[in-house]
């Protein structure tokens, strides 16, 4: 704790990183080419880096795979709640904003330090999930995907930046196992077109299932009466209450 006293970004009382030092703009351009390492394929994902206790060097042969993905995990509130709810499940948060990813990393390592044996099943990675989802997960690997309060991108010219789009749903269906669930939530009533998109995509998913392939169900948690706030941690608490 001594070194924490000299580090103002870490809270003295809880040992957790302080959010105000990791503020970032709410929006990030997913179309730009950011330079961060991307695993060549799902088998190149370094599990011992993300889950050091579960994949220590003496038991590398563990064939456990990541099953939950929180796409656009923000400050990681959902991941941390899920970690104790599903202690046996490996999960990963994906976030495009560098600073925010750093925050979640610090938060997880602080939680691991203060609660030995807990929070070993969660990790975070900085990546553009719209481009690199297939580099992280193989076919049918995931059982749940979370898209909580995605950037709504109101302007029509920015619609292609939306994380939920008809074409991207094909990729999500590919990484989800049969019966896997996509959780989406939004506080933007206008995102009706997206909701419509989801329902058509579900039908297509059923069609795919009939052909003996992948399928998924879209479960919508619509929170239109919720105060217009895009703070993801608020969203997570309301999700838990449902």
């Amino acid at each position: 704790m001594l070194e924490n006293e000299s580090n103002p970004t870490i809270s003295k009382s809880t040992g957790l990183p302080r959010k105000r030092f990791y503020r970032a703009r709410a929006h990030s351009n997913p179309l730009s080419d950011s330079h961060f390492p991307v695993p060549i394929s799902p088998c190149h994902v370094d599990y011992s880096f993300h889950y050091p206790q579960l994949f220590s060097s003496d038991q590398v042969d563990s064939n456990k795979k990541i099953q939950f993905a929180d796409v656009g995990c923000g400050f990681g509130g959902l991941l941390i709640s899920l970690s104790t709810l599903f202690p046996e499940t490996l999960m990963i948060g994906m976030e495009l904003r560098d600073k925010v990813t750093e925050y979640v990393k610090e938060r997880i390592s602080a939680l691991r330090a203060t609660n030995p044996g807990q929070y070993q099943n969660i990790s975070v990675v900085r990546t553009n999930s719209m481009k690199y989802i297939p580099n992280y997960f193989g076919k049918g690997q995931l059982s749940k995907m979370f898209f909580l309060f995605p950037d709504p991108h109101f302007k029509e010219k920015n619609h292609r930046r939306r994380v939920i789009s008809l074409h991207l749903l094909d990729e999500y269906a590919y990484v989800l196992e049969i019966g896997g669930i996509i959780y989406t939530i939004t506080d933007v009533e206008e995102l009706d077109p997206v909701i419509k998109l989801l329902s058509t995509a579900t039908e297509e998913g059923q069609k795919v299932a009939r052909n003996g392939g992948q399928t998924f169900q879209a479960r919508r948690l619509s929170l239109t009466d919720f105060a217009a706030s895009s703070d993801k941690d608020n969203g997570h608490s309301s999700l838990r209450s449902e």
Binding site: P30, I40, E171
Partner: protein, 463 residues
């Protein structure tokens, strides 16, 4: 490097989709060194072009087409010759529109040779009948609402001097039922600059020779990533698309493609640079076929598409000795094209900065790729950018070129060379007998070259 008058033309670099969705890397240039004056001076002439050739060999006819793909300067013609007769064919468009108003990005024959498709930067895809050489259909992408979204990003590209929409690869295939000759379906697929693959239904084309404008429907999309190659699997079950983000996506080609293709079979992941070309190897023993891909990481890889499993990797750049000199230019040994020869186990590979081609042997029983030899082309600087072969002619056609050189009366610079000596009966011993045909040995000889290259005396102008 070629000489013309007092100038030496130096063609360097090829074809890599750069970051920010620029299509061609800035390093790819044609420079002119003027040596006639007192002091030799360098000037830039044109960006490097990918000159594409498509060969069609069926029954008695043998057509070879040539089109240019350039990054900024327009070239608006497809040249077609009948290889047997050596005579040219002119394409007729009844719609009174110009042929193509912008650079032609892709040309492709259909599997049975009845149709030729061309796609250009003017956002038009034109479909030609090879019987009459008339335009039977055109697809205008401007009609689509989707384009409005695209144009916003396109503006950025304009500022950088790049062309608006890239129709990267156009492709045509027919699905026909094996038991009868009735055509089950006919679709053209092409990709735009933003990673969307479009599909056009040509069902009512049969017997209807009048010009029809058609709309394209989105089939699938790579998220904002240029699609560099598009192929159908030999059995028509899958459509395979490769992009500049190192990905190869295998998608089930649906029964109703106009509703989109939503079932992804696999992703073939392993390349560490953009994927430049795809080809299928399909033999009697393995009718489902194996995928071969070439990439900017100077490797050729062999894939099983149903699982996405990487079967073998061949470091062609290193094998060709191009990496030994330790040149710092990244991508100097990009694989620019692949061509399967004799429907079988031989693969011709065009590699950037390699004068000639590399021959690979693919052993499908052990699933390995082995280098047989490098076939050098002596006598002139010739780095092929596009390869084509017709199954029965046992020839490999190689093309390189630039379009519309400024400061020259030469409209475009294209060079076609042909490699002969492939024997169907004995594909394994092929390494020894290959020869580059002299211009006067070509089928159709100088007439053919005149049509394709624009000038029969081309060779004499260069040294």
């Amino acid at each position: 490097m070629t000489g013309l008058g007092d100038d030496i033309y130096v063609i360097g670099g090829v074809i890599g989709p750069d970051r920010w969705n620029w299509y061609i890397k800035p390093m790819s240039d044609v420079d002119i060194l003027t040596v006639g004056g007192e002091r030799p001076t360098w000037r830039q002439a044109a960006p490097m072009t990918r000159c594409r050739g498509a060969i069609l060999g069926y029954e008695e006819c043998n057509f070879f087409s040539l089109a240019f793909e350039s990054s900024s300067l327009p070239s608006t013609s497809v040249k077609v010759v009948n290889v047997r007769g050596g005579c040219g064919v002119s394409l007729v468009d009844d719609s009174a529109q110009p042929f193509h108003k912008d650079s032609i990005r892709a040309i492709r024959y259909s599997a049975n040779g009845k149709l030729l498709v061309s796609a250009a930067d003017d956002k038009l895809v034109k479909i030609w009948s090879t019987d009459s050489w008339r335009c039977v259909s055109s697809v205008n992408l401007k009609i689509d609402q989707e384009m409005l979204l695209m144009l916003n990003i396109v503006n950025e590209c304009f500022l950088n001097g790049f062309s608006p929409l890239r129709l990267s690869q156009s492709l045509l295939r027919e699905k026909s039922e094996c038991s009868c000759y009735k055509q089950d379906g006919l679709y053209v697929c092409f990709a735009d600059k933003f990673g969307v693959v479009w599909v056009v239904d040509l069902h009512e084309l049969e017997g209807n020779e009048s010009l029809v404008s058609r709309k394209a429907a989105p089939l699938l999309a790579h998220y904002c990533s240029i699609i560099t190659s598009l192929e159908f699997s030999p059995d028509g079950q899958f459509i395979v698309s490769a992009d500049r983000d190192f990905k190869i996506r295998v998608t089930v080609f649906p029964k109703k493609p106009l509703d989109g293709a939503h079932e992804i079979q696999s992703f073939c992941l392993g390349h560490t640079e953009f994927v430049s070309c795809l080809a299928f190897i399909c033999t009697m023993d393995y009718p489902q076929g194996f995928l071969v891909s070439g990439s900017g990481d100077s490797t050729v890889r062999l894939w099983d598409i149903t699982s996405g499993f990487l079967l073998d990797t061949c470091e062609v750049g290193a094998k060709a000795g191009l990496l030994e000199s330790n040149r710092s230019d990244e991508g100097c040994s990009t694989v620019s094209d692949l061509c399967i020869i004799l429907d079988g186990n031989l693969i011709a590979v065009a590699i950037q900065s390699l004068q000639g081609i590399m021959l690979l042997h693919c052993d499908l029983s052990s699933r390995t790729l082995n280098v047989i030899k490098v076939v050098s082309i002596m006598g002139e600087s010739f780095i092929p950018t596009s390869l084509g072969s017709s199954s029965h002619a046992e020839l490999l056609w190689m093309v390189t070129g630039v379009s519309k050189l400024s400061g020259s009366d030469c409209n475009s610079l294209a060079r076609v060379r042909v490699l002969s000596g492939f024997k169907k009966s004995n594909p394994d011993s092929v390494g020894h007998e290959l020869t580059v045909m002299r211009d006067d040995e070509l089928p159709g000889a100088e007439k053919l070259l005149e049509k394709l290259q624009g000038s029969v005396s081309l060779r004499r102008m260069f040294f």
